[in-house]
């Protein structure tokens, strides 16, 4: 008698536990539906680009063809892009500018963030706010006065002008990210390092940079993305094809008047998207490893 009541009681508990599992499954199904939607949504343009880049110019122009099917795939656009014209030169220019800008940005913003977050000096907090405010000024407002400066320096239509200008876009934001990361490092860590015999440079190099690596990678990715994809400044300051970077090079060289060389544009844009993809994939591994390492502290 008492055994049966115990049994039914246990049964009741068991059924409740079962519904928890069901709930988890429902949540997962919805998560997958939402994810699938986003995957399709975001992959739509690149897939379309890939398909178009593999078609011959005639097939692209054929209004009766299905835009999602390639009847006669060809690598002709890729071949032409890589052998004729300035595409490779633009690619090289983009790499030079981006690598230089990322390096300059990281050096400046790490040093700035370290001093702003750790060394109390007169006006340091105002400066920290100021750094962020400069990020809020839109580049469309800036390029006219910048024109004067670049002109005055004799750097008009010169690739090196980009290396000078891009950091104005990247440094404030990266500094701001780094201030956040550095500020989250407990004060005792620098004090321990100071007592252990580190000077400020060693403290930065051996403690802050390794500990804030996820932040540094985030900032690097940001600086890379901004430099690689920047369009307005090269458009405004670079005019001759040899000086151009990918973003403007594709537009100015592959669009002649009102003839759009769609196949090459698609191929060029697709290839141009490869480096960011590689950088993300490479840094993300470290980024996530770093994130989880920080999360379990305590």
């Amino acid at each position: 008698m008492s055994a049966t009541t115990a049994d039914t009681a246990a049964q009741g508990i068991y059924q409740k536990a079962g519904s928890l599992r069901g709930e988890r499954r429902r949540v997962l199904i919805w998560a997958y539906i939402a994810l699938a939607f986003f995957v399709v949504f975001f992959l739509f343009p690149p897939v379309y680009m890939l398909i178009t880049s593999l078609k011959s110019s005639a097939e692209i122009a054929d209004l009766n063809g299905n835009p999602w099917l390639v009847t006669d795939p060809t690598l002709q656009h890729y071949r032409e892009l890589l052998t004729e014209g300035n595409y490779l030169l633009h690619f090289r220019n983009s790499i030079i500018v981006t690598v230089a800008v990322v390096a300059i940005t990281m050096v400046i913003s790490i040093l700035a963030a370290f001093s702003l977050s750790r060394m109390r000096f007169w006006g340091s907090s105002v400066l920290a706010t100021g750094v962020f405010l400069t990020y809020l000024v839109p580049e469309t407002l800036l390029f006219i006065p910048l024109f004067q400066i670049i002109g005055g320096l004799g750097l008009y239509n010169n690739l090196w002008a980009m290396i000078l200008i891009y950091p104005t876009l990247t440094v404030p934001f990266c500094t701001w990210i780094m201030i956040g990361y550095f500020s989250s490092i407990p004060k005792e860590l620098d004090e321990a390092a100071l007592i252990d015999g580190a000077n400020h440079f060693q403290m930065l190099w051996k403690i802050f940079i390794p500990v804030a690596l996820p932040g540094i990678l985030a900032a690097t990715i940001f600086a890379f993305t901004v430099s690689w994809g920047q369009f307005l400044y090269p458009m405004a300051f670079l005019v001759s094809s040899e000086q151009m970077v990918l973003t403007t090079g594709i537009v100015s060289d592959l669009i002649r008047g009102d003839t759009f060389q769609w196949g090459k544009i698609m191929a060029g844009a697709l290839l141009a998207a490869l480096p960011p993809l590689l950088v993300y994939a490479f840094l993300m591994d470290y980024y996530i490893a770093g994130l989880t390492a920080g999360a379990t502290k305590g």
Binding site: L189, Q202, K297
Partner: protein
């Protein structure tokens, strides 16, 4: 190895907060000194000034005879253990302990020898290749101590190193710290707000309150001869009972008359000391452990008995705490667990008057 000397040390934070108000302290070579006091009394500030992490507003600090006021932390040859351990999260235990030596360009073999030695003392040899996040709280604490030991500094500074640990581990690590100090004998300044920690670890305890030193002395001395009401109440657990009383001349002897009309005779050897205060209102201080049941064949002299009815009875196992009220003051007594005691039942209690204290309520000094 070195002595540490503090002369008229003042610390004023910006905003005018005086955290430390001119303290003098002499710490001998190899000595283990504990700074203890309530939260905000300036213990950490004092320690951080010794470390060089906080600028000194006034006075001099000398380590090993050299005034270090203007010497940066790295050149003071000190090591510090922090409350939250402050281990470098990206380094292994070995690297954490070796960091200070590496920066000082010690040869590799010497670093390894020292780290291995410290790891052996602290029982953390199997953990050397782990990162701090893979360690328990107690293990992190050991690594933090190891980092201090390998440096073989002139002075160890500890700022509440055990307060992040659970009660059991705290007791264990306390013993560990004593053991380490007996092995390496480095001069140590240790900050805690836990008076039990202070009593068990210290050669000498420094009781601080509101930025000044109330009393310095060996644990037993602070316990038996507190100089002020603050020290009397701070050292010992449960805390000393303070009962408003009056010193009265009753017949031949001096008596402590409690507010309830209870009269307790003052031992003869104290009579001369208290006689000038006869007739005045004072505070009568007595520790719970000196307020017991009346034992058969009790050989203690100077017992004075009185009746009281406890309101709360707390059996602790090895003893039972009785709480009763005397004119609005909560009084605690510690009796043998075999004593029959029940709330509300009158009971004879014996006060060991040889352990009593009389406090001047105006100056808070123990007379």
């Amino acid at each position: 190895m070195a002595q540490v000397t503090l002369r008229k040390i003042v610390k004023e934070y910006e905003g005018g907060v005086q955290a430390v108000k001119g303290i003098d302290l002499d710490i001998a070579d190899h000595e283990f000194v504990v700074l203890v006091g309530p939260s905000g009394c300036g213990k950490s500030t004092t320690l951080r000034m010794i470390a060089g992490l906080e600028e000194i507003t006034g006075g001099d600090i000398a380590i090993g005879g050299t005034v270090v006021n203007d010497i940066p932390p790295r050149d003071r040859d000190i090591a510090m253990v922090f409350q939250n351990y402050a281990l470098y999260p990206h380094m292994t235990v070995f690297e954490n302990m070796a960091f200070g030596l590496t920066l000082r360009k010690f040869p590799k073999e010497e670093i390894k020898r020292r780290v291995d030695n410290a790891a052996r003392i602290l029982d953390i040899a199997p953990l050397l290749e782990r990162k701090p996040k893979a360690l328990s709280g107690g293990q992190r604490q050991r690594v933090a101590m190891g980092r201090a030991i390998v440096r073989d500094p002139k002075v160890f500074l500890f700022d509440e190193p055990l307060s992040n640990l659970d009660a059991k581990l705290r007791v264990q690590m306390r013993t560990e710290i004593t053991k380490v100090h007996q092995t390496v004998k480095t001069t140590t300044v240790y900050v805690t707000h836990d008076q039990v920690e202070a009593m068990t670890l210290a050669d000498r305890v420094v009781v601080m309150n509101h930025g000044i030193i109330e009393q310095v002395g060996p644990p037993q001395e602070l316990y038996h001869h507190p100089a002020t009401k603050f020290v009397a109440g701070f050292i010992g657990s449960p805390a000393m009972n303070f009962i408003p009383a009056r010193l009265v001349n009753g017949g031949a002897a001096l008596n402590v008359e409690l507010a309830d009309g209870i009269r307790l005779p003052v031992p003869e050897d104290r009579a001369a000391r208290y006689a000038p205060h006869a007739g005045r209102d004072v505070l009568f201080g007595i520790r719970p452990e000196h307020l017991t049941e009346l034992r058969p064949n009790d050989h203690r002299q100077h017992l004075a008995t009185f009746q009281a009815a406890p309101e709360v009875v707390e059996p602790m196992g090895m003893e039972t705490l009785l709480h009763f009220w005397m004119q609005g003051n909560e009084i605690c007594a510690r009796v043998d667990p075999s004593t029959p005691a029940a709330p509300g039942v009158q009971q004879t209690l014996a006060a060991d008057m040889s352990q009593m204290h009389i406090i001047d309520p105006q100056t808070d000094k123990v007379l």
